[in-house]
C-alpha cells in the first residue's frame, strides 16, 4: 500500500503500475488529509465561515470539498469572506491586517503541516495577534496506519511510507509495523525513480523475510526527523481522538491545541450549531480510503461524480484516489 496521496499520484502519473510485474499490486491508502476529513468537521468549518465578522482562511484543496449541505466555495459564493491561502502564515498576516475581524484558519494536514500551524500559533502569541483562530482538524499517520492494519480488511506485504510526513517524524514511529505485523516498510520520495527504488527495497525485505523500516528518501528524511518541528508541535498541540472519514473516530490520532493556547481555538471561542451531518448517497470514499475498494467500484465514479462536479472528497483533492484515477488512469479499467 502506498499510504500517501502524493505517492498515489506519482505512481499513476508516471505509469509505474504498468511497469510493475503482475505479482505486485498497489493499493491506495488514507494518506490524503483532505479526503479523510469527516463531514462533521467540514460542516463545522462551513458553520464558522457563516459567522458575522469572520474571515475564513483555508488551503485551496479544501474549498471545493462538499460537506453535508454545502462547501466553503459555495459559502464564499453566498457572500461570506472565505479566502484561499498558500501558507498558514498568510492567514496570520490577514489577521494582523484586519484587527476588527476574527480570522479562522481551517487546519487540515498531517505531520508535514502541523508544525507550520504550531509555528503560526507561537508567532501569533509573540506578536500579540489576538484575532487569529485555528480549527484544528490535523491528524497523525502512525496511529491510523495501526488502526487500518488492526481492521484486517486488507492483507499487506509492504507499505510505501509517507515522504514528507517522515521528514518531520523520521522513520522510528513506523517500527511497530515490521515488529508487530511483519510488514515491510520503506520511506519513499516522490520522483518516479524514488518510488521504484522504494518498491525494490520493499520486495527485497519481503523476499528475505527481513522486515524493517528503511529510508529510500534519505536526502529528505533522517531517522530522527526534524527535531525542531517536533518540538514546536509538542509545544502547541496535544494528541486527541480524531474522526476519519470512512474509518470513524480513532483514539490518539489527531491534534488539538493545548489549554495554554485556548485563546486561539476556534472550536471553543465561537458558538456554532451545524445541522446533523450526513454522507453523500452512493459515495464510496470511505472504503476507497481503507484500500478495500477502488474508484472503479463506485457507481458514481465518472458518472455523477467528476472533477467538475465532485460528490466526495477523493474526487476533489489533487491527491485523492478518484481524481487520480480520473486524470491518469483508464476510467473503465484503472
Amino acid at each position: 500500500m502506498e499510504f500517501c496521496g502524493g505517492h498515489t499520484v506519482a505512481i499513476f502519473k508516471h505509469g509505474i503500475r504498468q511497469l510493475l510485474p503482475e505479482t505486485i499490486e498497489m493499493l491506495s491508502g488514507p494518506g490524503c488529509p483532505v479526503c479523510v476529513t469527516a463531514n462533521t468537521d467540514l460542516d463545522k468549518a462551513i458553520a464558522l465561515a457563516h459567522l458575522p465578522n469572520v474571515i475564513t482562511t483555508s488551503f485551496g484543496d479544501m474549498i471545493r470539498v462538499p460537506g453535508s449541505y454545502s462547501s466553503l466555495q459555495v459559502t464564499k459564493a453566498e457572500g461570506c469572506d472565505v479566502r484561499v491561502v498558500y501558507s498558514v502564515q498568510d492567514a496570520l498576516y490577514i489577521a494582523r491586517d484586519n484587527p476588527d475581524k476574527s480570522v479562522i484558519f481551517i487546519g487540515i494536514g498531517f505531520e508535514t503541516t502541523a508544525p507550520t500551524i504550531a509555528a503560526s500559533i507561537l508567532q501569533a502569541e509573540q506578536e500579540g495577534i489576538n484575532n487569529y483562530y485555528l480549527l484544528s482538524l490535523h491528524k497523525l499517520c502512525p496511529p491510523i496506519m495501526k488502526a487500518l492494519l488492526d481492521l484486517g480488511e486488507v492483507r499487506l506485504n509492504g507499505i510505501v511510507c509517507p515522504g514528507h510526513v517522515s521528514s518531520i517524524i523520521g522513520s522510528y514511529p513506523y517500527q511497530f509495523i515490521p515488529d508487530n505485523y511483519n510488514i515491510a516498510c520503506v520511506v519513499s520520495g516522490f520522483e518516479p525513480l524514488d518510488i521504484l527504488l522504494c518498491i525494490d527495497m520493499l520486495v527485497n525485505q519481503i523476499e528475505t523475510g527481513q522486515y524493517n523500516v528503511e529510508i529510500a528518501y534519505r536526502r529528505g528524511v533522517k531517522p530522527e526527523g526534524n527535531q525542531q518541528a517536533l518540538r514546536l508541535m509538542d509545544t502547541v498541540f496535544e494528541v486527541s481522538e480524531a474522526n476519519w472519514r470512512g474509518i470513524g473516530v480513532v483514539p490518539s490520532s489527531g491534534l488539538r491545541l493545548k489549554a495554554r493556547y485556548e485563546q486561539f481555538n476556534a472550536e471553543t471561542n465561537f458558538d456554532i450549531n451545524p445541522d446533523p451531518s450526513r454522507e453523500a448517497k452512493g459515495c464510496l470514499c470511505g472504503s476507497i480510503l481503507r484500500g478495500v475498494s477502488t474508484p472503479l467500484d463506485c457507481k458514481l465514479f465518472h458518472q455523477s461524480c467528476t472533477p467538475e462536479h465532485p460528490v466526495g472528497p477523493c474526487m476533489v483533492s489533487s491527491e485523492g484516489s478518484c481524481a487520480t484515477y480520473y486524470h491518469y488512469g483508464d476510467i473503465y479499467t484503472g
Binding site: P33, S87, V88, L122, Q123, G163, R219, S318
Partner: protein, 72 residues
C-alpha cells in the same frame, strides 16, 4: 497536500528566508529549520522550509539508482 518541493535559499533575515525555485522567488519561514544556511536547498511546504536537503545523501541515492539500472 504533503507536497514539498526543493528550493534554494538565497538570503536569510531572522526567521524568514528568500528562496528561489527555478527563478521564482518567495519569502518563506525557516522557523522549522533554523540551522539552514544561504546556498542550502530546502524542502518547501506551504511557505515553510521543513527540511534541509542533504546533498551527500542525494548523490548517494543517484549512485544507487545508477547501480540498480546497471544490474537490470
Amino acid at each position: 497536500m504533503c507536497l514539498a518541493i526543493p528550493a534554494l535559499v538565497k538570503s536569510i533575515d531572522g526567521h524568514q528566508a528568500e528562496i528561489d525555485i527555478d527563478g521564482v522567488t518567495r519569502q518563506v519561514s525557516i522557523q522549522l529549520t533554523p540551522e539552514v544556511k544561504v546556498g542550502d536547498y530546502v524542502l518547501l511546504h506551504t511557505g515553510y522550509a521543513i527540511n534541509v536537503i542533504d546533498e551527500a545523501e542525494a548523490q548517494e541515492t543517484l549512485k544507487l539508482l545508477r547501480e540498480l539500472s546497471e544490474v537490470r
